[in-house]
């Protein structure tokens, strides 16, 4: 095993060199990184210490993303890696890692919003909705049910930046799981200050 996680090879705090006391042990082992890319799903399982499993995702394309302010999570397709705070190389090679900013497909969230609030989300002014979409929004509901929907509509406002994102069909999200460890690429939709922060960073990178 070549990669080890021991501290024996490091110098002391005083700067002095340390002579190795013993060989590398198995419990100090390290494994090569997953470097999960975007693509049709490919996951290998690894047998770890104690007989437990780790799911090393080598390629992923779907993930469970949560819309925090609306308390809703849906499985969506990941479209592109857009920003990585640690390394621009990881953006170029489209590597999925924790805390990378990605664009995801917005349709499951839009569907949920329209059925939950009975209001269109991210539709261009003049576009005509198709049959099923019309049906979804203006479904025949009893009077009692309509009252519930009227109540919900009071809190249905979504912030304008997010609404623009829904119009394009691509929403910015941040990965919160570790694909090389659990084999999943889950995360949350960026909103509010975080969204402004990352939009600024992406813009400044593009401007360069």
């Amino acid at each position: 095993m070549g990669i080890s996680r021991d501290n024996q090879h490091k110098r002391r705090a005083t700067g002095g060199k340390r002579k190795p006391l013993r060989k590398k042990r198995k419990f100090e082992l390290g494994r090569p990184p997953a470097n999960t890319k975007l693509g049709p799903q490919r996951i290998h399982t690894v047998r770890t210490r104690g007989g437990n499993k780790k799911y090393r995702a080598l390629r992923l394309d779907h993930g469970n993303f949560a819309w925090g302010s609306e308390c809703c999570a849906r499985k969506t397709r990941i479209i592109d890696v857009v920003y990585n705070a640690s390394n621009n190389e990881l953006v170029r090679t489209k590597t999925l890692v924790k805390n990378a900013v990605v664009t995801i497909d917005a349709t499951p969230f839009r569907t949920w919003y329209e059925t939950h609030y009975a209001l269109p989300l991210g539709r261009k002014k003049a576009s005509k909705l198709t049959e099923e979409e019309e049906a979804r929004i203006n479904k025949k509901r009893s009077k009692k049910l309509m009252k519930k929907y009227e109540l919900r509509k009071k809190h249905a406002k979504v912030e304008p930046v997010l609404e623009d994102e829904f119009m394009t069909g691509r929403v910015l999200a941040c990965i919160a799981s570790r694909p090389g460890q659990c084999g999943r690429c889950d995360g949350y939709i960026l909103e509010g200050k975080e969204l402004d922060f990352y939009l600024r960073k992406i813009k400044s990178k593009k401007a360069k």
Binding site: S69, A85, N99, K154, G192, F197
Partner: protein, 155 residues
Amino acid sequence: MADQTERSFQKQPTVFLNRKKSLPSKKKKGLRYYKNVGLGFKTPREAIDGTYIDKKCPFTGNVFIRGRILTGIVLKMKMQRTIVIRRDYLHYVRKYNRFEKRHRNMSVHLSPAFRDVQVGDVVTVGECRPLSKTVRYNVLKVTKAAGSKKSFSKF
């Protein structure tokens, strides 16, 4: 919220910043996570009111104080968010029935909650999990050095 000087968005992981505005929200003094570290240490005002984000801060971060509590005097403050303290002690030499002075330097993490720390202040530190290669302690309390009150310094 905080000073966003890093390349990723700094926030406290346990605080959800994006609650919808129209929802009836309980005004919770500006949405900040802080805790009482225990053992009778008061959490400083600055930790509760401040806007800094420090995951290694004992009051607003993800470290717990357990184990030893030591004191020392501040020696150097050149590192980012961590300082070097000096602990003096006496070592007994049996042959001569006398003591000799010895000292040890220690790197400890200094939370941004403590703003006015000068070289020479006495500092109480508590043990926590390893925060870096040499840092295992976190500053809990700063008491000013005797005679440093209202002293005129050149700048």
